[in-house]
């Protein structure tokens, strides 16, 4: 088999595989997550430490998950259910900080750090000189 045919075949196989993966990603199903679980994972269990009510085996967390399920059945929105808990336990119980208000900064700081870091790395670069890479690893 000649070299160029092999190259083309390899490229076709690579692209073919990539297409399959991309199709898989596009069809990605992440919607079937249980709504109660997803709300429960955003509310901290008040009697445990650091664990969400969806994850905690404690009795209080069970009771709160029951509340979540009943409210869902009553047609409450996710926000309303979470606010219901925040009204009783303060906002500290909501462990999924919104991208706004006084929790905006917690999202922005790491992003700013990435940007600053990139800037520093770029500023360390020499003016690019094309160089052959004969230096082995």
């Amino acid at each position: 088999m000649s070299d160029s045919i092999r190259k083309i075949a390899a490229a076709v196989v690579t692209i073919g595989l990539a297409v399959v993966v991309v199709i898989g990603l596009i069809q990605g199903d992440r919607t079937d997550e249980d709504r109660a679980r997803s709300i429960g994972s955003r509310v901290k269990c008040p009697v445990c430490q650091g664990v969400a009510i969806a994850d905690s085996p404690s009795e209080t967390a069970r009771a709160m998950m029951d509340v979540v399920e009943e409210r869902i059945a009553d047609g409450w929105s996710d926000r309303q259910i979470i606010d219901y808990f925040a009204e009783r336990y303060t906002d500290s119980i909501v462990i999924d900080p919104p991208f706004s208000g006084n929790t905006l900064l917690v999202w922005l700081l790491p992003i700013l750090a990435v940007v600053a870091g990139f800037f520093m790395i770029f500023s360390r670069r020499k003016t690019p000189v094309p160089k052959p890479d004969e230096v082995k690893q």
């Binding site: 209080t60 029951d66 009204e87």
Partner: protein, 202 residues
């Protein structure tokens, strides 16, 4: 975690580099001190104690079974107490030693304030009626005291409790005026009761 020196320039710009360095160092130092001050402000504060957002708000209305010495009677709504100052105490037989410690304080206050119209409610949290009865038989059933059953801790969720014991004071209009986290003493209770009685009273 400041990326201090990635930006450091090579030698030709040495004075500029030093200035930059001192500025970043200074900024980092200020950040550390701010951090230390924040930590310092937390000493002596129990992170588990969170001020209840229910204060000043209407107390949740609950319907729970009433636990008596020899019977369990049908559900009773907390709104039946409206018009009286109410003390709601969350306790459990398994809560040792805090609930045992505060028990005589609560029963004494209940007896002393009965004639001033203060009603006491004990909510047995995550407990079986048998265990609660055992606890109360051993330590004494309060007079002027209603005991309610909350086997699956739902009432605790309504009140936003972080554990037992916790005690809420509710005024005549049904607004929460105070919350105690942890065991309560007679003296502490009296202070809050007097406040609640004068605020909306007479």
């Amino acid at each position: 975690m400041t990326n201090t020196d990635l930006a450091v320039e090579p030698t030709p710009e040495a004075p500029q580099r030093n200035l930059k360095l001192w500025i970043t160092t200074g900024l980092a130092a200020v950040a550390f001190i701010a951090l230390a001050l924040v930590f310092n402000s937390r000493f002596g504060v129990d992170p588990r104690v969170v001020e209840s957002p229910l204060i000043g708000q209407p107390a949740p209305n609950l319907e729970l079974e009433v636990l008596e010495q020899d019977a369990i009677s049908g559900p009773m709504a907390m709104s039946e107490f409206r018009g009286s100052v109410v003390v709601v105490n969350f306790f459990a037989s398994w809560c040792i030693p805090s609930c045992r410690d505060e028990h005589p304080h609560l029963t004494a206050a209940a007896a002393d304030y009965a004639d001033r119209g203060v009603r006491f409610v004990g909510i047995a949290t995550s407990d079986t009626p048998e265990d609660t009865r055992g606890f109360l038989d051993a330590l004494g059933w309060g007079t002027n005291y209603t005991y309610l059953n909350d086997p699956d801790a739902r009432a605790g969720v309504e009140f936003g409790t972080f554990g037992v014991p916790e005690t809420f004071v509710i005024d005549r209009e049904g607004l929460v005026t105070h919350k105690f986290t942890g065991p309560v003493t007679y003296d502490e209770l009296v202070v809050e009761l007097e406040k609640a009685l004068t605020e909306t009273g007479s």
